[in-house]
């Protein structure tokens, strides 16, 4: 409840104390001896006395300052929307000679890129989720209690490595490594459309990029899963164990039912991160303009929005820049929708 600052009460003027000491100024020391307490307080100790009125002003100022900080957040986000829209707008009407990669129109540019982003992020999600959930299970329910913190920190370290380092590693170490497996994969499983086509020799395919992305989003999904596993009601764990359930049965009976929505929400957060991830893909993937394909192993690959922007921005000029900004706006909208959905899955905890 807030206390209204009343219109200056008449008693305040009568106060014997000097009004409004600035807080830093040395205040008159308080008398150490106890004053007598008559039924009527001396004027100096009136409840309405002005000694603390500076404090009340400072209180208002503190509230106003912190509220203003909150307002900055609001303004900043509004500015992001407005500036991206204002600067992205001209690209909607731009023709082939102005747009990057000589695209017919903004949408023929944006469409395949949005497809690439979604496809790469979905693949990464499909790869990362089971691994992250398994790792989280291991940390919370299998590993010895003493080293749980250490193992969790190790998985969290995956999130601390900058994406440009993942890019460098993905391109120089990981891609050549997985490329060795792509040839046999396409020979034996080539009848599956996903693995059809001539496998890339460098390994810089969308599957490699998705694998690197999976490594990057794994710690996000793992940490959310860990949190929900930890919150399993201990009574249910004990109850199922008391019924003679094995550990795995206990997990299926007691842990998973509670964790499902948490895992889904963690996965969505991971998806949001994967959609916005830029440098690792920009470095690992060897893209072909305007391509839309589900094939995983070929040397011709669809590009993603974020990577396209990063690759083309340093050389872009004029309307080209506007087009890239417009692409950024599209990416913003997609990730916003995904993150919003993620939060809707888990109803917000009452605070």
């Amino acid at each position: 409840m807030t206390i209204l600052l009343a219109d200056p009460a008449p008693t305040r003027a009568e106060s014997a104390e000097p009004p409004a000491d600035p807080p830093q100024a040395p205040a008159p020391p308080q008398a150490p001896e106890h004053p007598d307490h008559p039924d009527h307080a001396p004027a100096g100790r009136s409840l309405l006395a002005g000694t603390a009125s500076w404090d009340r002003v400072a209180d208002k100022a503190a509230k106003a300052t912190s509220t203003a900080a909150g307002a900055i957040i609001l303004v900043a986000l509004a500015a992001v929307g407005v500036f991206l829209l204002a600067q992205g707008w001209p690209a909607l009407r731009a023709g082939p000679d102005e747009l990057p990669a000589k695209a017919e129109s903004f949408w023929t540019l944006a469409g395949p890129l949005a497809f690439g982003s979604l496809w790469a992020a979905t693949l990464a999600l499909l790869i990362a989720t089971p691994i992250a959930v398994g790792a989280a299970l291991f940390i919370t329910l299998y590993a010895p209690r003493k080293i749980r913190g250490l193992l969790a920190a190790a998985i969290d370290l995956l999130a601390a490595i900058p994406s440009v380092v993942y890019g460098l590693w993905g391109l120089m170490v990981f891609a050549p490594l997985v490329a060795k497996f792509y040839k046999p994969l396409s020979e034996h499983l080539g009848w599956i459309p996903l693995f059809a086509g001539k496998p890339s020799a460098t390994g810089r395919t969308i599957l490699t990029a998705a694998l690197v992305l999976a490594v990057m989003i794994l710690p996000i999904i793992a940490s959310v899963s860990r949190e929900v596993f930890r919150q399993t009601p201990p009574l249910e764990i004990e109850a199922s164990l008391a019924l003679g359930a094995t550990r795995w049965e206990m997990i299926r009976m007691a842990v998973f039912p509670h964790a499902r929505s948490g895992i889904v929400s963690g996965a969505m957060l991971g998806l949001g991160r994967a959609l916005g991830e830029t440098m690792a893909i920009a470095m690992v993937l060897s893209p072909t303009p305007f391509l839309m394909t589900f094939r995983l192993l070929e040397s011709q690959n669809p590009n993603t929005v974020a990577a396209f922007v990063a690759q083309n921005f340093p050389e872009a000029h004029g309307t080209g820049v506007n087009a890239l900004i417009g692409l950024g706006l599209i990416l913003f909208v997609i990730t916003f929708a995904v993150n919003w959905a993620a939060r809707r899955v888990v109803a917000p905890k009452p605070t």
């Binding site: 991206l84 440009v164 003679g244 922007v309 900004i325």
Partner: protein
């Protein structure tokens, strides 16, 4: 099924339980699966750290930390200009995002109620999800509208990073402020201490170690950001200590540009990229460790 056991005679031996065999096997398969999946998750970490360490040490020398890339076409050269740039831009980011973040957290925890507080909470969530490249595009859009197109500067990079770091600071400060027991606030109010002094002298000092460690995590997150800096701060071979004009190299962008713009001696460029990666990772990891240390060692013991 688990309930079968209830009906069995008490004399039955646990080891002769045929019904359980299938379940035991399933349990063992699950255990093996979980252990191997965890190991699988750690493999990339080990590989990345090992590669960065072994390949990065080649150029981990005095020249790397004292020279810029000015006039260097093959071997030699260093990243002092990029390290300086990272320090300057990160510093500017901290100066902008910590006050805004901390104050917003104070607002949300100590003052905020009603629709405005809910709106701010929601927007902080939205902000957390902004892709880093979008933050870069935003900073570019702002600066190009004010200063004309094609402008690159360190401060634009700092603006982009602020957009990314502020929500991290808000979230962790908020969490830390909420951990301060309500008891302490009440004890202070009961002493006739005003609200702003209670926040400044009681709440903030109690939460300080957590706040510092949260800020460190925030720094660790943005110091490795590449995409927004590539867009708005750009890269250059020479030292630039002026945040407000001209291109400014940073460590992550240095890594990218060494790889992307190789000159005559490709190996020399790769080596420099790996060394920069080593420096960057070492910095990020020590920040992470340090933040854990700060949170553990300096947190006041609240009697519960």
């Amino acid at each position: 099924m688990a309930t079968i056991a209830l009906g069995l005679p008490a004399t039955i031996s646990l080891t002769r339980d045929h019904v359980r065999r299938g379940r035991r096997v399933k349990n063992q398969v699950a255990t093996i699966g979980v252990v191997s999946v965890f190991t699988l998750a750690l493999l990339p970490l080990v590989s990345v750290l090992w590669t960065v360490l072994t390949r990065g040490l080649a150029r981990f020398d005095g020249e790397f930390f004292t020279n810029s890339m000015r006039g260097v076409l093959g071997e030699g050269g260093g990243a002092i200009h990029a390290i300086t740039g990272t320090a300057l831009i990160t510093g500017a980011t901290v100066i902008m995002s910590v006050p805004i973040g901390l104050l917003t957290a104070i607002y949300l925890v100590e003052y905020g109620k009603g629709p405005f507080a809910r709106a701010v909470t929601f927007l902080v969530d939205v902000m957390t999800g902004i892709p880093s490249i979008v933050a870069g595009l935003f900073a570019y859009a702002v600066f190009s509208m004010i200063l004309g197109p094609g402008v690159r500067s360190g401060v634009a990079g700092a603006i982009a990073l602020t957009l990314l770091m502020t929500p991290v600071v808000i979230r962790s400060c908020e969490e830390m402020l909420r951990l301060v027991p309500q008891d302490l606030r009440e004890a202070s109010y009961a002493l006739g201490v005003s609200k702003h002094r209670t926040i400044r002298k009681i709440v903030l000092p109690t939460a300080m170690s957590g706040i510092v460690s949260g800020v460190m995590i925030g720094i660790a997150r943005v110091v490795g950001e590449t995409a927004p800096l590539l867009l708005v701060a750009g890269f250059t071979d020479s030292m630039n200590t002026n945040l407000f004009s001209d291109r400014m190299s940073t460590l992550p962008v240095f890594i990218y540009s060494q790889w992307a713009n190789k000159g005559v001696n490709a190996a020399a460029y790769d080596n420099r990229a790996w060394t920069a990666a080593l420096v960057l990772i070492a910095f990020v990891l020590s920040l992470n460790l340090l933040s854990r240390l700060v949170a553990r060692v300096f947190s006041p013991k609240v009697s519960r």
